[in-house]
């Protein structure tokens, strides 16, 4: 095995209290142009799975419970 994982801080933050993915909501996952969000089935909330963000904000704006906050990726700040 020669493939390693490099941890990185991702720009999308999901408030697990507010997120209603456990009720079947997938809006943020659906609208993301880069397809980088996913649902954690154990926790029942959305999370950013891949650090490939365009910080374009559809996930934040279209979230029905305002559970998402998008920050500018650290490398650009």
């Amino acid at each position: 095995m020669t493939i390693a994982l490099s941890p990185t801080q991702v720009p999308v933050r999901v408030n697990e209290e507010k997120c209603i993915a456990d009720k079947g909501c997938t809006v943020c996952v659906d609208v993301c142009p880069l397809d980088v969000l996913a649902i954690d089935l154990v926790k029942g909330s959305a999370f950013m799975k891949y650090d490939e963000c365009w910080y374009c904000l559809p996930c934040e704006q279209d979230c029905p419970t305002q559970a998402i906050e998008v920050d500018i990726p650290y490398l650009l700040r």
Binding site: M1, T2, I3, D30, V31, C32, P33, L34, D35, K49, Y50, E52, C53, W54, Y55, C56, L57, P58, Q61, D62, V70, D71, I72, P73, L75, L76, R77
Partner: protein, 576 residues
């Protein structure tokens, strides 16, 4: 091998701006046509205008501008290398398209009499129409798609257009980026609306997806057109954008210019007369950065409070709305500080520049049944409104074409080869990650292809790209998402090589910074007043040739031709 096979009369690839319009207009022309719109994201929020747009940059509205005037302006801005008939096809349909969008519910700025409030940004004419509430653009388009009953498949990555024995479009192939299921769609015709190739170079921040263009727009359409045998035109005329330093939004002269903002050097002095994005403007920008007078800034801090507030409202709610939080973190307030700008990495984008899949005034490529519209096609300085107009032209003409065209068979071995190419990375547990291969390709693009262009550097780039082409055989993808990135790495490498080969072919300098060749510093109209066209040769290699500039339909006076060369403010006359 499991392949989902489907059949449609017309497949539109890319659901951003031109794509939805093409699909809707094809259905309006012939409601019986089975039209499929595919997107590798979700049509609701895909493409360059995912978060809307703050205005039209090229509105040709009677009373403000004429089609002849517009055609002349773009001819001059693009150093004469244009298909004027294709520009005219846009210009004469521009106003009607604005009216149609207005009826669909797009909100344009209007004056007290209800007339469109057009502003001046270009060097000569008046074409900028603000859309302060342009953030709703995608919703407006989606409503029309539903109304016209267009079939939509989201999260489908199309990778190849397959042709039949007569060379015309037979099918498109790709895979689902959630399941990796292979898909083959037999079709009579296809429209490429895949946007710019905005992921060829690497943003200075090093963040792979920090590109000006939506990173989904990685040049897969350009690559597909090449492999289908279509001509691509003037690829050496790069797109380079003046952006906010470190942030991927425009600064944005089109919004601030009409309100009194301008591009300034480090001393706060204006150094270019027109902030319209031409190659010459970018060269002046580059020269200022190199001269020691930089950095370059957008200056609005001299404006009145209500004007600045208006600028903030537009810029922080449209197109790139995270701009506000970028400034906030750094403590940049438009009232007090100038906004540092920089020039971007390279790309292909006819929306602002002139390179792309070669089309004529009907939106046809050189492959029968294959159409292209928007940023990926070759009509220069076309912007969003041009994408809509050419989307409409492609949709209507493709619908007509489909009526007289039977399905043709594709070569089974071509489909087989493509299936193997797609499945390759999934089958490897060891190898290179798509991110590594992409990063390396794009880093080399920055190192060797970023203008000024130097022949020796370009030759080295081609050698290195050849090495990466072999590395593609080692790409490993653990799942469907990574597979999407792996196939994008193929397209990015194709575009990087096309950019290099097209640039080496044109042995002159033209279009300001876009094709600024150190070894051929002069413009050479005698030998190079022509388009260049790149296509796939029989052996699969990239072949280049010259194509004559089509006869002008609007004459341009000698005195007008140089208008865009006189951009530098006279009192700071030094050049580098």
């Amino acid at each position: 091998m499991n392949v989902l096979e489907q059949e449609f009369d017309l497949v539109v690839i890319g659901g951003g701006t031109a794509g939805p319009m093409a699909a809707v207009k094809a259905k309006e022309r012939n409601p019986k046509l089975r039209v499929l719109l595919v997107d590798k994201a979700n049509v609701k929020r895909s493409g360059a205008i995912s978060m809307g747009m703050d205005g039209l940059n090229n509105a040709v509205i009677p009373g403000h501008a004429t089609p002849e005037q517009y055609v002349k302006e773009i001819t001059v801005a693009n150093d004469g290398i244009v298909d004027q008939e294709a520009l005219m096809a846009y210009a004469t349909r521009s106003a009607a398209m604005i009216d149609e969008l207005d009826r669909w519910g797009v909100k344009f700025e209007k004056d007290e009499t209800g007339d469109y409030a057009v502003r001046k940004v270009h060097h000569l004419g008046t074409y900028v129409l603000p859309m302060p509430e342009g953030h709703h653009m995608k919703r407006v388009l989606y409503r029309q798609l539903k109304r016209a009953r267009v079939d939509i498949t989201n999260r489908l990555v199309v990778t190849r257009v397959l042709t039949g024995p007569d060379g015309s479009v037979a099918a498109v192939m790709g895979f689902d980026c959630r399941t990796a299921e292979l898909v083959l769609i037999r079709t009579r015709a296809a429209v490429l609306c895949t946007g710019a190739a905005g992921r060829i170079g690497l943003p200075a921040s090093g963040y792979l997806m920090g590109t000006y263009e939506n990173p989904t727009n990685c040049g897969d359409g350009h690559s597909m057109a090449f492999h289908a045998g279509a001509d691509l035109s003037n690829l050496e005329c790069f797109q380079i954008n003046p952006l906010i330093k470190d942030y991927n939004g425009p600064a944005c002269a089109y919004v601030t210019g009409p309100l009194g903002g301008y591009t300034a050097n480090g001393k706060g002095e204006r150094f270019i007369e027109s902030d319209y994005w031409s190659g010459q403007m970018m060269l002046e920008f580059y020269n200022e950065l190199q001269s020691g007078n930089g950095p370059v800034f957008l200056k609005v801090n001299h404006l009145a409070e209500e004007t600045i507030a208006q600028i903030e409202t537009i810029l922080h709610s449209n197109e790139r709305p995270s701009r506000g939080r970028f400034h906030e973190r750094r403590g940049t307030d438009y009232r007090h500080s100038m906004i540092e700008m920089h020039i971007s990495e390279i790309g292909f984008c006819s929306g602002h520049s002139a390179s792309g899949i070669r089309i004529n005034a009907r939106g046809e490529t050189s492959v029968r049944g294959l159409y292209a519209a928007g940023d990926c096609a070759s009509v220069p300085h076309n912007y969003m409104l041009g994408a809509f107009v050419y989307g409409k032209l492609c949709g209507e003409h493709a619908a007509e074409y489909c009526e007289g065209k039977d399905f043709v068979p594709h070569a089974p071995e071509a489909a087989q080869a493509e299936a193997q190419r797609i499945l390759g990375p999934l089958g490897r547990s060891e190898g290179l990650t798509p991110q590594q291969v992409e990063y390396k390709t794009r880093r080399l693009v920055n190192d060797y292809l970023q203008p000024p262009k130097i022949t020796r550097k370009y030759e080295i780039a081609l050698q290195r790209f050849e090495e990466i082409r072999e590395d593609l055989q080692q790409l490993a993808a653990p799942g469907p998402h990574e597979l999407m990135r792996a196939m994008e790495a193929h397209a990015i490498l194709d575009c990087a090589e096309m950019a290099a080969r097209a640039s080496l072919f044109r042995t002159e300098s033209r279009w300001g910074l876009y094709h600024h060749c150190v070894d051929h510093p002069q413009r050479d109209d005698e030998n190079w007043f022509c388009h260049t066209a790149l296509r796939r040769g029989a052996d699969g290699s990239m072949q280049l040739r010259k194509l004559a500039v089509e006869p002008y339909v609007v004459a341009v006076d000698e005195s007008e031709k140089a208008a865009y060369h006189r951009l530098r403010v006279a009192r700071v006359a030094e050049t580098v």
